[in-house]
């Protein structure tokens, strides 16, 4: 690999595109015939916090996993600091991942390891010497997310959901990444713990010059933490010619958006979605599940 690109990967010294940290260009993700994401283009400047909202199945998590390099897109590019991440070989991708932090929906802590081993895992993986320096880093990150040092010898199963999420955040922060990716960080938490996580995300941003992408259903969280909100819509339900990104703007602009689908999502109203679901059930009933190659089942369907 070219030396200048290699130094970009490891150090983060950008030589490119107008301070863009993440540049998603015409991204498509498809599984067989099922299109999940189509022609998604988003530019995220350095230091910005972007919330990606949208109903279940619209491809938010797929987008996040594509950005993290966990999922190869069908077509399109994801450029991070001038480097197309999906064109990198395994070795370069590993180096680049040192600059990413990923907070998973259910924390994804390793069950077999203690909290100390979980938080210190990225340090060991990237060759940071184990010792006093590593110990200090682990304790500092835990303190930043409000966890005492007595959790260190515990296993993830001994912690509450909120504590596990905070450990996940500490683990993501341990290497002081340039890009933090949050997958539904407040899902499954009580309102107070959700707000604790929101506050921690905001404090993290104040402490480090980090770019953040937050996938969430939680409008309160999106409005609180994000500089910019992007709403995706399921590709299968778009009208011909429509873009999958229904809204891209600030929290204030979100309220002014004329698109009814955006307003329904923001205000949590089922609207015609319930009728759509019920009518599709009535039209097809349970016949969709019947094997239509079976002459008896086919005949029964014709009778109906």
């Amino acid at each position: 690999m070219d030396d200048s690109i290699l130094s970009q990967i490891t150090s983060g010294t950008t030589a490119t595109s107008e301070g863009q940290v993440v540049d998603i260009r015409q991204l498509c993700v498809q599984f067989g015939k099922q299109v999940v994401l189509k022609d998604i283009s988003i530019r995220i400047p350095k230091g910005q916090t972007v919330a990606i909202i949208g109903e279940s199945g619209c491809g938010k998590t797929m987008l996040l996993k594509s950005i993290a390099g966990l999922l190869a897109p069908t077509s399109g590019r994801i450029v991070f600091d001038g480097v197309d991440i999906h064109s990198l070989n395994d070795m370069d991708m590993t180096r680049l991942r040192k600059r990413f932090g990923f907070v998973f929906q259910n924390a994804a802590l390793f069950d077999s390891m203690t909290i100390h081993q979980n938080v210190g895992f990225p340090l060991r993986q990237h060759g940071v010497p184990q010792g006093k320096q590593a110990q200090t880093m682990i304790l500092d990150r835990l303190a930043e997310v409000g966890l005492p040092s007595n959790v260190l010898p515990k296993k993830p199963s001994q912690l509450s959901g909120g504590m596990r999420k905070r450990v996940g955040l500490a683990r993501a922060l341990i290497l002081e990444p340039d890009l933090l990716l949050y997958d539904e960080p407040t899902t499954g938490l009580d309102p107070i713990m959700s707000d604790v996580i929101n506050e921690l995300m905001m404090r993290t941003r104040k402490r480090y010059p980090v770019t953040s992408i937050v996938v969430t259903h939680d409008m309160h969280s999106a409005r609180k933490v994000a500089d910019r909100i992007i709403m995706l819509y399921p590709y299968s339900r778009l009208k011909p010619g429509e873009k999958q990104i229904l809204f891209d703007g600030t929290s204030d602009q979100l309220d002014q958006c004329p698109d009814r689908r955006v307003q329904q999502f923001v205000h949590g109203e089922a609207g015609e979605r319930l009728m759509e679901m019920l009518s599709s059930r009535n039209n097809s009933g349970d016949l969709d599940t019947i094997n239509l190659h079976d002459p008896i089942a086919r005949n029964r369907k014709q009778e109906r």
Partner: protein, 289 residues
């Protein structure tokens, strides 16, 4: 309202043909799926081998797997080995006694154990005890995004999770096989000499005369391939686990069933190969196939 349940099928012959076609399609689908899975498992094994030779696994990942595969499997392998040796003695005694060859019982028991039952028994125990657990653990890690977390932190999951399990199975199954052989021989001896009263000296002499070094090698050589099969199939099943508790359960079951079937299929191929080697080295030996 339609009354004919098969409106588009006129003659009974057509109906039979349609049925046969459906059966052929179903079997064809099974065969295609089987070949496809075998191809996927082979690619998975190649990736694993590439990682194994390119980067040394860390001690912290090796030791827990060595302990789980080797130390924790030892009691169950020893116990089942003992029982198998005793069962062989019970089953064979009366037939041998009727032709006056009961003192040769040791030769038959020991030969069966060392060449065949020892390695297959150790492999079966390993597939049941360790293989299913591997598939369940890796499947749970897949479902709960722990494998994605590993990747996101720059670790290769095949190098980190599969290579240590593979090495543990391949390097420790010979020891388990030797343990199964030994305990089976002890069990057979105990039942034959202590319970059935066969002469101790004759039993041992016949045992020693019939079982040679190549027989022991045969069992240990086969066991290495069995261990490799268990590790690759179980890890593959775990990595390709479907979501949910049902998916993890299916992965664990499939890991055992597929490992066991592949062990038996491999046993035939390896026996043919080893016999060919035996007769190439000692051409005067009796032909077995």
């Amino acid at each position: 309202m339609a009354t004919d349940p098969f409106p588009d099928i006129a003659a009974p012959q057509s109906r039979i043909m349609a049925g046969l076609t459906r059966v052929a399609m179903a079997w064809g689908n099974v065969v295609i799926q089987g070949i496809s899975t075998l191809g996927d498992i082979s690619l998975f094994a190649m990736q694993m081998l590439a990682w194994m030779f390119s980067s040394r696994p860390k001690r912290e990942t090796l030791m827990p797997n060595f302990y789980a595969v080797g130390v924790l499997s030892l009691p169950v392998v020893a116990l089942t080995g003992t029982f198998i040796g005793m069962v062989l003695a019970i089953q064979s005694y009366h037939q041998f006694k009727t032709i006056g060859l009961e003192t040769r019982l040791g030769a038959v028991i020991n030969m069966s154990l060392v060449r065949e039952l020892g390695p297959v028994l150790a492999a079966t125990m390993l597939a049941g005890r360790v293989g299913s657990a591997m598939a369940a653990v890796l499947g749970t890690m897949r479902v709960t995004e722990q494998i994605d977390a590993l990747v996101s932190m720059g670790a290769n999951p095949i190098h980190y999770l599969v290579v240590p399990r593979f090495l543990a199975c391949v390097l420790l199954i010979p020891a388990l096989t030797v343990m199964a052989d030994f305990m089976g021989i002890v069990g057979g001896y105990f039942y034959s000499v202590i319970v059935l009263g066969i002469d101790h000296a004759q039993y041992l002499r016949n045992s020693r005369d019939f079982v040679g070094g190549f027989d022991l090698f045969t069992g240990i050589f086969k066991s290495v391939f069995f261990g490799a099969t268990i590790a690759v199939v179980s890890c593959y099943r775990g990595f390709h686990c479907q979501p949910g508790a049902d998916g993890v359960g299916r992965a664990a079951t499939a890991a055992f069933v597929q490992s066991f079937v592949m062990i038996l299929a491999l046993d035939i191929v390896l026996n043919l190969f080893l016999d060919a080697v035996y007769f190439a080295i000692w051409p005067s030996g009796a032909k077995l196939f």
